[in-house]
Structure formats: structure tokens, C-alpha cells
Subunit: 365 residues, 2 copies
Amino acid sequence: MDLFRVEKKATGSRARLGRVRSSHGEFATPAFMPVGTKAAVKGLITAQLLELGTSVVLANTYHLYLRPGSDLIRQLGGLHHFMNWNGPILTDSGGYQVFSLSDLRKVTAEGVRFKSHLDGSEHQFTPELSIAVQRDLGSDLVMVLDDCPPYPIEEESVKRSLEITHHWAERCRNAELNPGQALLGIVQGSTYPHLREESAKTLVQIGFEGYAIGGLSLGESRELKTEMVDAVVQNLPEESVHYLMGVGTPEEILSAVSLGIDLFDCVLPTRNARNGYLFTSQGPLVIKQSRYRDDSSPIDPDCDCYVCKHYSRAYLRHLFISKEMNSAILNTWHNVHFYLRWMEKIRESIANDTFEELKNAVSCC
Amino acid sequence: MDLFRVEKKATGSRARLGRVRSSHGEFATPAFMPVGTKAAVKGLITAQLLELGTSVVLANTYHLYLRPGSDLIRQLGGLHHFMNWNGPILTDSGGYQVFSLSDLRKVTAEGVRFKSHLDGSEHQFTPELSIAVQRDLGSDLVMVLDDCPPYPIEEESVKRSLEITHHWAERCRNAELNPGQALLGIVQGSTYPHLREESAKTLVQIGFEGYAIGGLSLGESRELKTEMVDAVVQNLPEESVHYLMGVGTPEEILSAVSLGIDLFDCVLPTRNARNGYLFTSQGPLVIKQSRYRDDSSPIDPDCDCYVCKHYSRAYLRHLFISKEMNSAILNTWHNVHFYLRWMEKIRESIANDTFEELKNAVSCC
């Protein structure tokens, strides 16, 4: 069974409709994965994720390895059962979290040593361990361990880092997976187009069920990011799934879809919700602002989500100002709904051959 | 339209089945009201409250008066519309919160001056203002403003306090209500049976649609509490609704039902949930305990709630230890379900004439 199938290509760009098939069901692409770092999408329980039409979620190997432990999750029947999510799950490899969260990160050819951000305990991730952890978790889409260099960084350091990333990718490829698990390679190369190209080609030669682009959204300009995505996708098999890690705003997603990206994850809809930052068809809305004090209208008059159908901006402002946890719950509901409907709109536009119109209508892309 | 009707009396105790009718629907008693202090039951949105079978909720005049302001809630269509709860709402009068939360509380015959716990601003609640605020909120069951003395307290002080409470009750009775709003008096008298009796008689003479018992659960013994409830209920009209404010544990509720109480509210199921303290048919369960680390069983094997059907103790412990907000959401769901099913069980036992058996089966009552 192929992991991915392109179902329709847009005219005028590399945008495409596709379908991912996993042992826990299929989903249409371009798709957005809500982030459930610690085996929970903050603020949404499974019944709500399903009601929102969530098709796939992401969880973090780094966090679950440290707590509660992937061995425990395996004993308890795997991550799907543990978190009561029977749809597809993608787990990242821990490479990015070791880079962004832990102390004392030391990379060698063997692996990466780091101190837990929870208790300072020392650990080492090797490619084999990262895969073993993801086997314990039993996710459907497994990511290779990669080395994430900071940004900006000089070319020689990126070259050294890429050697390690490619060496690890090969070791991950050789590691055992559970039946039904698919392995995705991660293209690195910072903001050097020829290194991105080289990384893509190297990974394709190793051969993965899909390819991700890592190491972006670290502070580089939007133009550079677009250039890198473009350089990578041109060197990936068209018939494989393309995943842009950690991206992004609705506009960035639209732009990346036009470059041929199929899969996205980002904490923006959930984290911003907790900070009272709401996505709407008219642009962002910061709910704490006093202008919403007596505003009886919904967050977004064009939105048909549960929150917009039942609650006013004034009420949501009251919850936020009062630090009520229902503020985070309702805001998250709306933002995730916004993202999932945005992906639906993108898919519909490709299906109807109106993707270019949608893209042109969004001025910032 | 009468607020309350007794539908069946138990044999062997004063327990009774009843029905409260309000402009926002009816509900069966004995009933438990989840607490939505700031116009939100923490952790549960309306769809979930309805799924749990919640029939009536409580909100707090003190909190909503201070923030966002009851005038604002009136402008926005009243509390039902504001918080998206179309069922019955009871609002307390603010008397207890002024006593328990605010600084510089000064009681005179006119009213009570206090400083907001939010910003130290000075305010005065008079009986007329408390009713006006509750008119703005548009609740179905309105409480009179009362003076809540601390515990323990000497008899002479209680007598002075009672005079004020009764004077305020009369002024509340004379204040204008919205059509359809019912007013409940509050019996005080600390732990002096003859003062409780006097207070009940005085309030009955003034005449209210229902009667509440305030000023208990302040540290007095369970025996004293039982004695006070007993002394009060014997002096209330049998055909009026009897509400024991701020009580209590499942066992305390059962005991109070046997004394003739119909209505309860308490933060225990919601607050304890956030602290990881769960109610089960086998007694309390503290989810953070390490013995639940790898426990694949549900919170309560005898519970049929969404949480018990879908999540293990090990997962709920992980969420709690990881400080994930879904911990509070799922724990609250379970605890409120437990309380509502407990009330259902009590009602069924009265209907089937097995209330005494239920009561005897619960050893602690």
C-alpha cells in the first residue's frame, strides 16, 4: 500500500490534491495536523477533535520519551489507545525539540546527548533509539532523527551538520519499523539552496515513503523560506508526500501549497488561542482589546463553528480577562476550526481549479 | 405558576422528589447545580454541560457585578444569552462572597461596604442593589442579600447579624423582580438551633418562593450541621423548595436529602477535579499517585461517563503530572458526571421507595 497518492494537480502552480493512507485511516491533503505534543491537543478532547473534522494529529517523541516514557505507552497499548485517538498520528523524531528545548546539546556521529528540560537528567538520542521510541508509540508516520542547526549559520557548519543528518537518515532507514509504519526523511541545509538540493537528492537516494523540510521558520525571511521550499520540492519525487515542518500562518500554508507541499503542523492555532489571538476571515483579532468589551458579534461573522454560533466577542473577552480556562477551550476550538476549514478551502480550490484565484485573493502571498 | 411542587415523599425520612419550574425550563429535585462563578463552569462548555445532563447552573452575583459588570450583561441580552446557557440559572446574592473574598467588609443596616478582591475598589451592596444586579443578570432563581457571620461566633453577635439579615430579606422582598424571577430567602443563625428556628419563621412570615440555608460548612461539625438543617427544615413550608447552600460531599448531600433538602451547589466536583481529586463509587481517587502510573483501568469501572469509557488512569495521571489543561477538562467531566448521576440515583431511590436502603448502604451517613 502506497502511503500517498496525488489525485489532482492544479494548473499554474505545483499545488496538488492528494490522499495519505495509513493503518489508522486515510486523509485528504493538503492537510493540517493539530499539535498534541504530550499526547493531548491542549484544550480539545477527542470528541471535539472529531467534531472539528481533524483527520490527523502530531505528537512529540522528545516529550513522550521523557514523560511518561514510551515503554509505558507501549505497555498501555500504544499512543492511539493511550490518547484515545484512533485516526492517523505523525510523531516527530525529537531532533527539533532537543535543539529548541534541552540544555547541553552535544551532537556526534553517534547521536545527540542532551539534558532533559524537565529535570536536567542526561539522555542520548541515536537514530536507532528515536525509531525504537516511535515504534513503541506506534505512530503511523515516523520521522527520521535529524540535526537541526541554528539560524543564521555559516555554510561550512551546515555541511558538517548535513553529513550527520544524512548518516542518521540512513541508519533510521535501516532500523526496524512496525508493520504499517511509514518513514519520512527530513531535508535540512539551512538557507543554502545548493545544500537543500543536495540534501533532498541524498534522502531520495536513500529512499523514504515521504519527505519533510525541516530547519525553516527559524527567523529567515519569507522570501528565503520560499526559495528553500522551492529548491527542495523540485528535487523530491512528485508522487511522494511533502511535509513542511512547523509552518505556519494561513498565508504561509497557502504559499507553500502552491510550491507543492501537502502536509503541515504548527502550534499557532492552539498556542495563539491560549494567548487570545484569534484567526478570522478578516485577519487577526486580539480578544482582550477593550473595543470588544460590549461587542455582541461572534469572533468571525463568516465562521460557522460552534463558538461563533454561540458566543459573543464580549463573552470571550470576559473569559480571557477573567483567566477562565474556558477561554482557552473556546478560542482553541475556533482557531483549529479556522485552520481545518482553511485547508478544506484550499483543497476545494484545487479540486475546482480555482486555486490561483484563491492565492491571488490573499494579498500577502 | 408555582416554583416548586413535591411529587413524591419517601417513607422513613423527609426526603422527597420534586420539580422546579422556571421560565427557562423545569428540573427534577433533589438537584445539584454545577458552579459557574464567572458565567462559566470551569472546564465544561455548554455542549458538554448538556451532554452531561446538567439541568440548572449557579452563577455569582458578586463576581459578575465586579467583572464584566451586570449592566453590560443586561445590554448583551442577559446572563443566559451571555453564557449560552438556556436552562435555569440560580444566582447567589453576593452576601457570601463579600464575606469570604473581599477586604474591609463593613456591615450596616443600610448594606455592606467592601473592597473588590480584584482591584481594591470600594463598593456597597444593598439589598436593593443585589436584586437589581440579579435583575440585570436575568437569573431564574434569585437569592436575597444576607449577612454571613463567621464561625465560631457568640450568640449576641449572631442575633445582631440576624436582625440585619431579616431586615435585608424584607427589603429584597419589596424590591422589583423581572417577570418570571423567583426569590429565595436565606436562613442564617450560625449553630444556634433556636436562632435558626427563629430565622426560618421570620423568613416564612415575610414569604418567599423558596428557602435556602446559608452560613453552614464553615468549619462546624457534621453533627451540628445536621442539627441546624433539621431545625430549619422543620420550620419551612413543606411545599416550598429547600436549598442547602455550598454543600457538599456526596454523603453530605444524601444526608441532607433525608432531612428534606431539594437543591445543592458546591465547588467540590469542579475544584477537586482541577486538583486531581476524583469521585468514584469506591471512594476518592487522587490521580497523581504513582500507583496509577501504569494503571490501564478507568477512573471508576462502574462509571459510564465519556472519560471512563475512553481514558485510563495512567493517561489521566500523565495529563495531571504534565500540567496539561485537558487534565482539568477530563477530570471535571468525570466529577460532574459523578455528582449528576448521584442525584439521579437519589431521585430514583425516592421514586422506587428505596431511599432508606441507599442511605443505609452509605456507611458514613
